[in-house]
Symmetry: C2
Subunit: 205 residues, 2 copies
């Protein structure tokens, strides 16, 4: 998701300085709050309809110091962001294990700088273990959202390791990904695409 800090008052702030050297460069994907909220709202809707139980994982935080003000709840006064072990979202749908990463993208291509190598590896592991894994990319300028299955992500990633392009262009998503339409309930019906992925997989195996 976006690498912004989301303050409870709704304001936000870029964390350019906050990024350790291994952290993906998210400076071009800093307006993804609405997109993230659309996914979270969709997940709440799916759960309310008993369709799926999919949640965003909390951001991992390294806690260093905690204060206990009298009569108040514990207050963390020193902590740092940690690198997430896996992806943003996981859960269950139609008995399948679902796992994905969601990114908002403000240029005309999705750069591999925007995702950790170990997250790509995690998506691959899930795929190999029989789960349904993918990335959801929002091209914010075009207001279009695509699902790209892990198999295709890996294909492009391996090309990038062998001297190919270091990003996946919008056109590739348009031709090979699955467009998700914004709607009312759910706001982003990505399980509709997951149905297609399940169908496709069951044809292959």
């Amino acid at each position: 998701m976006s690498m912004e800090i989301k303050y409870p008052n709704g304001k936000s702030n870029k964390v350019t300085k906050a990024q350790p050297s291994k952290k993906p460069n998210m400076t071009k994907s800093h307006l993804g709050v609405d997109f993230e909220q659309a996914i979270n709202d969709s997940n709440s809707y799916y759960l309310s309809q008993n369709m799926a139980s999919i949640y965003k994982k909390p951001t991992p935080i390294q806690i260093v110091k905690v204060d206990y003000p009298a009569r108040n709840k514990a207050r963390i006064v020193e902590a740092y962001y940690r690198t997430p072990s896996t992806t943003d979202y996981n859960g269950i749908y139609k008995g399948y294990y679902i796992d994905f990463e969601a990114k908002s993208c403000h240029s005309t291509s999705f750069s591999f700088k925007h995702i950790y190598v170990h997250q790509i590896k995690h998506l691959e592991t899930v795929m190999q273990m029989g789960g349904i894994s993918f990335i959801i990319i929002e091209f914010s300028l075009k207001k279009e959202v695509f699902v790209l299955p892990t198999r295709l992500l890996l294909e492009k990633y391996n090309e990038s390791l062998n001297g190919g392009r270091q990003s996946i262009p919008y056109e590739y998503f348009k031709e090979n990904g699955y467009l998700i339409h914004y709607g009312f309930l759910p706001r982003l019906d990505y399980l509709n695409v997951v149905d297609k992925l399940i169908e496709l997989r069951n044809k292959i195996f």
Copy 2:
């Protein structure tokens, strides 16, 4: 898991004051760090053997204020613990969605005060959606660890709502749960029990 704050220096401190009113009373389960580590180590082992991909979810934190000291990474200077939406652990094993809560228990029974109602509900939802869900309880004084399937947890929980016992005694786990033995690799082979749960479920359906 334990409701202690785990400081990076290895010291710890109870968070009795930190608990909002709805928070389970964990004061009797405050020594579960080794137990949690045994589960995490087992998950690392399972992943290294390509058997399963199961992770502990990060503790949810509400971030209020972040500082950006020059040349340093972002430092969170005001934050609070939030109530977890779901359970501690989830992932994939043999294509099944796996979901469980782990608790260390320092008395001779597991009290329903030690788990959130919405966590029990979450385990039930997962079960109904075709996942494998359960709790893992360590009785620390006896150094015994049991898996209790959600179906049995729900049975005892519903009894407690209808005037029955507000806890599940050790003897019940011993008779109806599945003992997990501590070993070397993995330290806690709970997937061995999950195999039995899968087998049992496939007999029923």
